[in-house]
Amino acid sequence: MPPTDSTAVTGQPAIRFENVVKKFGDNTVLDDLNFDVRRGERVTLIGPSGSGKTTILRLVMTLEHLTGGYIYVDGEPLTHLEVNGRRVERRPKDIARSTQKIGMVFQQFNLFPNMSVLENITEAPVHVLGRSSEEARTRGLELLDMVGLADKAEEHPTRLSGGQQQRVAIARALAMDPEILLLDEVTSALDPELVGEVLGVLRDIAKSTDITMLIVTHEMQFAQDVSHRVLMFDGGKIVEEASPDVMFTSPTHERTRSFLQAVL
């Protein structure tokens, strides 16, 4: 399954990290990070705890402030750009244009408990994208059907199981028609028996859409099945980069080998 390479058409990757630096106080988490994610590509980030995987996703979603460097989405600077050699922050309105192309699913689902399942899904399409409520509703029900929860539309999220909540969260993200989907350990908070249903939905999405995905997961089989490329991180740096087949069967680096041995 090669990524649909529209990079050739636009010449721009879906996401580009350029000399990215992220510090929390004195703690430098990412130091001069560079990598691209092509359009339609599904890239999985693996690595030990604290290696900066979540931080990378959160930077793309603008949930963290970028300390240094640049992130480009579809070739457009996300939060910072260079003007006459100086690094300046973009205006919130310009940032919003880029973030609208990006969706994120969180480890803790983060559904809005004060809204029904369907309202969770239609809120942003109606009030951010300006779709009509009927249109959003129809699409929302379609998506719920796709994640196997057509009968839960009027339910309150808190009455659903973790696996069901996470599937709603996936539907909610998809309702915004994102070009890029960020998935941060979306099954880590789930009871083991509920992991499968969520991964199943994600496999379907990977198969049936060309949404660019940046994935952090400890589910190595899933990573192997859906990703085009795997990046092994340690200490905020890319240690190794390979196709999943190579990465999971014959990694080059000792660090990767020991990490995979520990998790597999």
Partner: protein, 215 residues
């Protein structure tokens, strides 16, 4: 003369009830609305406004909470002496309790998980929309019971309006006493009316609290 007469108690009841409805109830209801709305505005301002606005707002609120309502009533009454006492009294009650309710809202707002804000950001929802549809509804759920408790407090503070010459139910009871030289029945009846108003309210609040505890 024995110390309690049911006749007197019944005789004073109508005028007490009239004063209760016209002053105590009106002041509490309008004062609560002012406090609830203003308190929320203050709480949101403190979270969103730049420091040069948020800080002074905080300082003023702190001042209001740390000084007796009687001082505030007297100060406002003698400063704005062209406005009638009832109007000023209701405003002072409202602003005074807004300072308490702002604290309640603040803790309710702080209790909304960070993940809710992040989900809203991930959906490109505007900050205003996030406040209105996500944060405030969730904060209200946890704060409603506490807000209700402050409303009961306000109800019990309405007799302070007498310091600015508003004839509330308690002053009415005193007036009856000075007319008849007997105070026990009228003051007791006024107390019972307060009890009759606040007790059901607090029971209702407790029920509400239980109902709101889960979605």
């Amino acid at each position: 003369m024995d110390w309690w007469s049911w006749d007197r108690a019944l005789e004073v009841l109508p005028e007490l009830l009239v004063a209760f409805v016209q002053v105590t109830l009106v002041a509490t209801v309008i004062g609560s609305v002012i406090a609830a709305v203003l308190g929320l505005i203050i709480a949101i301002t403190r979270r969103t406004a730049p420091a040069f606005i948020a800080r002074p707002v905080h300082a003023v609120m702190e001042f209001i909470r740390m000084t007796p309502i009687v001082i505030q009533l007297l100060f406002v009454f003698y400063t704005f002496n062209t406005v009638d006492g009832m109007t000023l009294g209701v405003i002072v009650l409202g602003v005074h309790y807004a300072s308490y309710m702002a604290e309640v809202y603040r803790s309710g707002i702080d209790a909304v998980p960070k993940g809710q804000w992040e989900a809203a950001t991930a959906l490109s929802m505007s900050p205003a929309r996030t406040w209105r549809k996500v944060v405030i509804p969730q904060a209200l759920r946890t704060t409603l019971p506490a807000l209700g408790t402050w409303v009961i407090s306000m109800l019990k503070d309405t007799p302070y309006l007498t310091v600015i010459f508003v004839v509330d139910m308690v002053r009415q009871a005193e007036n009856y006493g000075s007319r008849t030289f007997v105070y026990t029945e009228s003051i007791t009846m006024a107390g019972l009316i307060f009890l009759a108003a606040s007790y059901p309210t607090s029971v209702l609040l407790r029920r509400l609290e239980k109902r709101l505890a889960t979605y």
